[in-house]
Amino acid sequence: MKCECMKQQSDLSLLEPVLAEYAAVPGSLITILQHAQEIYGYLPTDVIYHVAERTGTTPARVLGVATFYTQFRFQPVGKYLIMLCDGTACHVNGSARIAAAVQEYLHVENGGTTEDGLFSFSIVACLGCCSLSPVMMINGDTYGSLTPEQVLEIIKDIQAKEAAE
């Protein structure tokens, strides 16, 4: 089987302003990758190669840095990214039950994306809203003091909104 990972064709010109600003600044690799992920939603392989070339390093080093940090993803994510906190306070206050409810309802594993591409689900370390535990964040909005029923309501609201569009 031939390797197909370079068949991706991302629009590399989108990254040009970022590279123009940071490519020559030492220590900026993480910043460049953060911008790249904002542009493409994840880090496609051809983008990683391109960043390596433009910053004068190897793809292995870029990938080594990217895989070290939990923020970076290598697969496209759904339109809505559900981040469920499993920090200590959320854990003690039953985040596992919330996780089970989401996974059962959406049929999605931790780190996975639903078939319709609408939701990605990820269990993350502390979001820092411990007094509202259990907490989740969907696309930057925080929801606190969750119960399994509430979580499903929130998800169903999003589904209804999407269906209407």
């Binding site: 690799l29 953060q34 070290f68 940090y69 200590t88 003690v92 370390a125 820092g128 809203c129 509202l132």
Partner: protein
């Protein structure tokens, strides 16, 4: 009479709906001349959203758990000054006591000033300390500043508790023109959120503290390393830095002096180990965040191998207060070895969870019961976890322990960054130990063998214990391995990773034994070890349990006692949840 309204909008307030409350209030206040302001987090998270009514800049009423539907009553109260319409929302004296028992230095402006206005910060005394230091008449030399911090006894609030003046002095003494001052705002401890609150609620206090530090060590550049998970904190800090630059507090020749300092923010990308200072520096340089061997310490060779100083947010937040009030005033609070105040994030099964700043020397009991109001839902206190994955659990018998670096360390826990997660009788301590090892095993950077493999093996042993497959000798094996990891690991993450296991073994050994020998979880938390059965006396044969059992493990005729097949049961607990007669028992 001049009234104004302030809505608390930190991350937790917003999550509880504060923005919607503000949106509902805005049109109602149009044309009334009553300003609607934003403040950060007051730290009374269990009462969010919170709306404060001020009359002539004095707090007239604090309204709690406000919903958008209350907007009209609030607007009316602000217009007329008559509070009877919002009496139901007004905070109770019992809840107010939460704040009254605190002494706030690092959090002095949080929830009071507008975090998006430099004028508001200046009105509260912001930038007066750096102004004094740089003034021609009563100025202070860098050595004076370091001496003042030395007198105060301020120690690193990020966890290690290292004397701040010592680090500053070492960086000052290091050879070289190019120096850096770094703020560690990579608050990764699950259960701690005071750094987020400070940045979101009072960013100028952090900037001023860092400016003073930069002046003391001779740095020309200051960098704040913030977690990417804190978008609001990053936004407010960016805004504050730009305002401070415009006002002449950042940049070249600050306030007309010879002192110049640039500021920038670097967003972390999610790695707990980056809270370790040398790992943080590696990450700042765009590398994998793996700790360096020490020495050399960052004071000699840090960012780009230049002399650097790193402190945590809370540490810097104390600095301007110390300069303004004198080192002695700070040192007057606290105990023999621990001076000043410390902020704790009180969470878990506590009645009043939030941010608590108290002088060192108070007891845990005072913080958890007097300030926090004790355990909620009428359950019994079991333990408090302090110091996150590097800390330990303190049992009820040690609740009178005094909060100070040494006394806490003697219990097997640590001060840490100030996370205080309270647990009740329904929390299984073995499962808690496993939770922390799951975390450290995942977050181990992999550089040294003891941490990389040791935490993984510890996690495996704990996993088998909570799933009922613990073996005789596992406790001894855990202890041996814990000691090896502690002694052999390269950095703080690995060296302290065994603490949650060692401290639970020390105080809750019987729970480990119950899991291993009796295959029983005393807290009824480990699902694999639960045994469900039906009390034939109480069962009315309504069939609800049998109909809801996902694996058809329950059998019995209508109106006759049912029974559960223990071999088929998957311990999901649905039968217990649906039984109206309390006939399903678990042990």
């Amino acid at each position: 009479m001049s009234m104004r309204i302030a809505v608390g909008q930190g991350s937790c307030g917003i999550a509880a709906g504060a923005q919607k409350v503000a949106q509902a209030l805005r049109p109602l206040l149009e044309g009334t001349g009553i300003p609607l302001g934003t403040v950060g987090c007051i730290g009374m998270c269990w009462l969010e959203p919170i709306v404060d009514l001020y009359e002539n800049d004095t707090l007239k009423a604090r309204l709690v758990r406000v919903q958008p539907r209350h907007a009209e009553a609030i607007a009316e109260a602000a217009k007329t000054g008559d509070l009877s319409g919002v009496a139901d929302l007004t905070i109770t004296p019992d809840d107010s006591a939460f704040l009254e028992q605190q002494t706030r230095i690092a959090l002095r402006n949080c929830g009071i000033i507008d975090p998006e206005s430099i004028e508001s910060a200046k009105a509260a005394g912001g930038y007066s300390a750096i102004g004094r230091i740089l003034s021609k008449e009563h100025g202070m030399t860098p050595e004076d500043v370091i001496e003042c911090i030395k007198v105060s006894g301020l120690a690193g609030r990020g966890g290690a508790g290292f004397p701040t003046w010592f680090k500053w002095n070492a960086a000052r003494q290091s050879e070289g023109e190019e120096k850096y001052l770094i703020c560690n705002a990579d608050e990764g401890d699950p259960g701690a959120f005071m750094d987020r609150a400070v940045i979101e609620s009072d960013p100028h206090t952090l900037i001023e503290g860092m400016l003073i530090g930069a002046y003391a060590i001779g740095a020309q550049e200051a960098i704040v390393y913030v977690r990417a998970e804190y978008p609001l904190a990053i936004k407010r800090l960016e805004n504050a830095i730009s305002d401070a630059r415009e006002a002449g507090y950042i940049g070249k020749n600050i306030l007309g002096s010879d002192f110049s300092c640039e500021f920038r923010i670097k967003a972390g990308a999610g790695a707990f180990v980056c809270g370790e200072e040398t790992a943080l520096i590696e990450s700042l340089q765009g590398q994998r965040g793996m700790p360096r061997l020490k020495p050399p310490f960052p004071a000699a060779a840090g960012y780009w191998y230049k002399p650097s100083n790193i402190n945590n947010v809370e540490t810097y937040a104390n600095v301007a207060w110390i300069i303004n009030n004198g080192g002695e005033a700070f040192a007057a609070m606290g105990t023999e070895d621990s001076k000043g105040t410390k902020v704790f994030a009180l969470t878990g099964k506590i009645r009043r969870g939030g941010l608590v700043e108290i002088p060192m020397g108070m007891t845990l009991r005072q913080v958890i019961f007097d300030i926090g109001g004790g355990i909620r839902d009428g359950k019994a206190f079991k333990a408090v976890q302090m110091g996150g994955p590097s800390g330990g659990c303190i049992p009820a018998s040690l609740l009178d322990t005094v909060i100070d670096y040494k006394k806490l360390a003697a219990t097997g826990a640590i001060m840490g960054s100030g996370g205080m997660v309270v647990m009740d009788e329904s929390t299984c301590m073995v499962s808690m130990a496993k939770f922390f090892l799951d975390f450290t095993a995942k977050e181990s950077c992999g550089k040294c063998v003891h941490c990389r493999i040791g935490t993984k093996r510890l996690q495996e042993i704990l996993s088998r214990i909570v799933s009922g497959e613990g073996r005789e000798g596992d406790i001894e094996l855990l202890e041996e391995l814990c000691n090896a990891v502690r002694d052999g690991a390269l950095c703080g993450l690995g060296q302290t990773a065994p603490n949650p296991v060692l401290s639970t073994l020390r105080y809750f050994r019987d729970e480990f034994e119950a899991h291993i020998t009796d295959k029983r979880c005393p807290a009824h938390a480990c699902t694999d070890l639960l045994h469900y059965s039906i009390d034939a006396e109480k069962c009315r044969g309504c069939t609800a349990c049998a109909r809801n059992c996902p694996v058809y493990a329950i059998s019995g005729a209508v109106r006759e006692a049912h029974s559960i097949d223990p071999n088929a049961c998957i311990h999901c607990g649905r039968c217990k949840a649906v039984c109206k007669f309390g006939a399903v028992t678990v042990d």
